[in-house]
Point group: D3
Chain length 285, copies 6
């Protein structure tokens, strides 16, 4: 008898029961305002992770020593945002109830809302660390409330002032910058320089960590729907996400906005793979 | 003083008031189930139409002798299908009330529903001629009712049995084929061979004509989200759309499912441009 | 508890035990002389099969009524042809011994040799039907004996004269054409026109069926390492492979030489998916 | 000592002195009105010719039995059309004086004018056979007289009425079609069907043969600056160019308008290579 | 009645009369020596500017508070450099006479000569600040005087020694470097480090500012015809162009050498858009 | 009579006899484990070198003052690693015996083994400086000993401990890092910072210099089969290779792992060209 060869993210071949972390893809991009295609990220990341090794010389850790279940991609109802969000929410809720860490691969950034809904119900004291090029603080986008451009504002609707910590942002409407700066979020635009400084105060608190990969400069990460020049470099991002995952009580996270058809060279997918690997390794307790 | 150089589809530079035909783009692809990108079709077609001439040696007619207004692309709320459809419906309604012919460039096929809603209100006896590779007759797609895969079924909800004439279809679920064949639509799968035969019976009746360009074989038209091999060739399609537009009372029409980022060679956009030109010329009375 | 979402070729979700057909990928292209990349075919075909339906209106059959196990891609030792061939041979042998039909997705054409070795041992009276643009009858290629350009010659070494039936071939060295025409193979170059004519004589005999997709014209199938203009069209190939699978005793088969990175439009992968679906449906007894 | 490995078109490794045919590239595209890039054709054709064989099973001839010198690409002054044309003219003149056949690989179609100037001086009774999608009969293009869109009109300026035989044309301005039809050229639009019919009357006369590859349908040949759907298929073109080269007194020829960067799949370059091979073989006396 | 939806660079929707700045495209690339395609820059920049916001958090300014007229692309005679230059010159002259600032989007770098001719006539004391990877100081290129590789030399012919300030240059012939260094230009190769230092001395003088975007490193800006590794990063360029536009009396400017077909990822177009936005905002008085 | 226009790397047009350096391509990629295509590097580098100048303003040296013979690409037996290695070995041996420096353009990294075999026979005291993202120290890769992933280990088999100096490495299996660190190689992972420090001790000794271009960050060099984020930038690499070539007794070298089809923008090829130019200039004594 022959066994099926199944594709997981490299080194993530634990079963659900034994796993500490559950990796899952959320292939959704219906509200993307510019170039769609992030729906293909989960599959691309799984495919190209085999260009990586399981071992990280940066952390001297190996995925083979972790227990991670790769659920694969959810089957989502492209075209109906509310249906999609509730599907994600249900999945995240199950994982959280089973005392595991949900690690989502977007999709567009709106998918974060589904996971945050589940996380905030479980952890009412939830904080969010948000790395991004864009504010994502609109009240709506051309009349659409459930939009990638509004996702952090929608998280704020749940969590309120002082809970969301934003870094690296360099694009948005004037009103969004003003709103953030007026104290609704803990706002650190342009770079990640301030990120290490806030880690002490978040120590021990439940934190959801959402990484929009377009926080990177397009030279490093061209494969995204709305490239925004002037971002951070790879080693800076890698160091920071490692530090966050290492030192805080991360109860859920996501990495989103990789758009594989926007970058035929594959380097953007390689960047996403390596960021995910380093996060997975740093999350290991 | 210098005047703005404005880009229209080649030769379509009439003003709205004087125009017989109003060309407009509907840049929407949120329910696309496979590869998105049809939102970019309107702009691509306008750009690349300058690779064409205004003169057609096939019909010995010239766009310079027509009165066509190119409205440009509508500004649509990516991510909210109902909002988008009502925006399209409103546009089509205005054009129809002004006794002009609305000619829409999709976007995904769902956009047809907006235009058909307006057309069916104005012309309750409306017929639809539908060229496509796919049945588009689902009741829903993963629970989503407003889906490109359901658009013709949604038109049938408005018009009922016997009003929709389908040609070229070669893909769908068994239940869709059975439903069509049980008489709900006038169903002629695989080729356009039967199309000339139905023209006499439709003579003079108000007809909405919707052309999903994936009715073409992917060798001719690879630039579409879901290429389906085994389709018709270019000259066959060109001859048939010309004949339909020439001989029937077309009161509205659309050409959809061109996905420019799916074909870097540009040949699919060239095909769309030429089909649109021939239709525009044939619609001239 | 959450279950892993596993990707198979659409509709091929039977278990190994219950299956009649075993689909497996052979991701190998080390001897490709021009543009490599066929190693990615198995994964691409599995991904893009979801742009298809499980139902074929041509045959009025549905993959959901078949029992097919998709093994996934074999893990092959890129760079060592003999190791790779023996891995394929072992897999095919197991499947054949379990009275199932091995259906391989290449990879370059050399992979056929592994499967034919297993098949010929089980069925010494084996015949091969070979569709291709190229003769593949070299004795070696720049001194390399195990080469895609020699694969049919290597099969002939096992089976001898009169057992190999070649169709559609339009490229090769003069000496290869001469060798074929001198009676070593049953040689029908340029088209598939003669294929129906040989089916009666092969009735009931064990036949291995190998389809090099470059038998298609590059307009239909640009995504291959060595496109050779002047090939057959899609419907002709589809009709012929369906007929072969329907009417003969096919004991093993393969579809090879899809090179996904050679065609960004995805139409070549769509063509491969549809040919595979039609073959799978026609093989159902 | 080690010898340089030099790249020629496959099988074209004769020295200049012994050669019957001189192949040379004219990498120029400065007047291209839509998508430039034909300047890369010569190099691409030389590279990709190794995906072909030297042997043609259609003609049962082999390039290894021919004496063809591949000069490589001329070094042309991109940006100055008159300088470029005189460089081409000088090259063609030398080849013609040495009683060899100049076979040019464009470049855009304007390059033909250089070769025709030289040919017409040597053969005042020269005829031209012109295969193309476009009339190329403008008097100027936006005020530019030396334009690819005017090249055949410029040849007519040299040769006058009745000497130019045009086939396959399906695009142009109304005035160009009218001018051609009024008897200035021997005009056979849309197909190559009439081409065999004119061969008898041209028997023995000196003929320059210019093949704009966009006469092919874009499904076969997407890699060109201005794809024009509705063209001829590959086998039709191959048969006709073979027949022309076989039966007439061709004293010079060119194949132009391949734009390699317009087609990443490489199939257009493969088509160009095979047309060139068949022409070279048919020209062998 | 329905109004045409017209595409401008984001936020640049003033009328000509009221505008302070006139943006216009110069789609010309006939003398490009390596990979052509800059002719498509104007249209690409207009399209992709919608991935930006009108607000700059760097300058805390908003395009909605500026008065900029986007003229669109000029219609230029591809293939005749002198005709093209005089067309550009005429346009720039009209804008300058109307006391507005002409802001040109190339095209290849040769287009600068047209604008500089007009500017130098209006401002005989004109200085030029030139950012580039290449010297552009040839006397001719393969015998062609009007060449992108000679454009700054041609400007020098008008302005003479000491008026041209060059930064970032890292490629050229030895003779060009020697000529520049001998005092003909104010020459600061390799970086922009010296740029702030020259601003005081140029204060108040009329300055034409020409930015060849290939001054950027190809990692930031791969979409250019002749990528030259070793350039400056995005933030450095952004800071410097902002400073120049803010502190000097810029009377005309251009941004050139974006070649959209050279970068399918779109990041180069995004970079161009953002540089243009920051320059437009900084030019606002 | 007309002379053939032959393509060399820019400025490398010396004859073999007079040359100090022999440049040759090794178009082999059969053991590439992820994305193949490095076989096309030699030709791409030769083509695109014309986007460079022969003059380096960094070193103030000019290729026109060097004597370099460009042999072209070797004709290698794709698919048989041992055959390929011995072909490379023979070539390198001839060049070394003729007292010239063999400069190889890969191909995948395995090709280095051929050249090192020849060099080590000639220079038993040979040292290797190895720049790379990957350790390349596996004992085998899926059972294949002759693998790009094992090439440095295979060199160590010849040279033993203390002779191989590795820099920039940031990916590998834990066991490879442990093996290197245990003293088998002189191991300096992550950066090139330690490279200048070892130059004094290597002064005068025979050194083979192998540069795997993926030591660069993928933002600079996306065109490689296995992009590994976190690498060095262009100027750092350029400075270091120049210093190595300038100050040491380099007796052979190679630049490998450029995969042109992995980067349509061409910037990776430009990077390779410039690194090669700077090395050639620095090697000039």
């Amino acid at each position: 008898m022959l066994n099926k060869s199944v594709m997981n993210f490299i080194g993530c071949d634990a079963g659900y029961e034994e796993a500490d972390i559950v990796l899952y893809g959320a292939p959704f991009d219906s509200t993307t305002s510019f170039r769609p295609g992030t729906r293909f990220a989960g599959q691309a990341v799984r495919n190209d992770s085999y260009g990586l090794e399981t071992y990280s010389p940066y952390q001297d850790r190996d995925l083979e020593d972790c227990r991670i279940f790769d659920l694969g991609d959810l089957e989502l109802a492209i075209g109906d945002s509310e249906l999609v969000l509730s599907e994600i929410e249900k999945t995240a809720e199950t994982i959280l109830k089973d005392k595991k860490l949900p690690f989502m691969i977007g999709g567009e950034h709106l998918v974060t809302l589904g996971a945050v809904r589940a996380a905030a119900r479980q952890y009412p004291e939830l904080h969010i660390i948000h790395l991004d090029a864009h504010t994502d603080l609109r009240e709506d986008y051309l009349g659409v409330k459930l939009s990638h451009a509004a996702v952090i504002r929608l998280c704020w609707d749940i969590l309120g002032d002082g809970r969301i910590h934003q870094f690296g942002i360099r694009s948005g409407e004037k009103s969004e910058f003003d709103w953030a700066r007026s104290g609704h979020t803990d706002f650190h635009p342009f770079t990640l320089d301030d990120l290490p400084g806030i880690l002490p105060e978040l120590k021990g608190k439940p934190v959801y960590f959402t990484v929009d990969l377009d926080v990177l400069d397009p030279s490093v990460f061209p494969g995204t729907g709305t490239p925004e020049p002037g971002g951070v470099d790879f080693l800076t991002l890698m160091k920071n996400v490692t530090e966050v995952c290492n030192s805080l009580n991360i109860i859920g996270c996501d990495v989103n906005e990789l758009c594989p058809p926007c970058d035929h060279s594959g380097m953007s997918t390689a960047v996403a793979c390596k960021i995910i690997r380093e996060m997975l390794l740093a999350l290991k307790k």
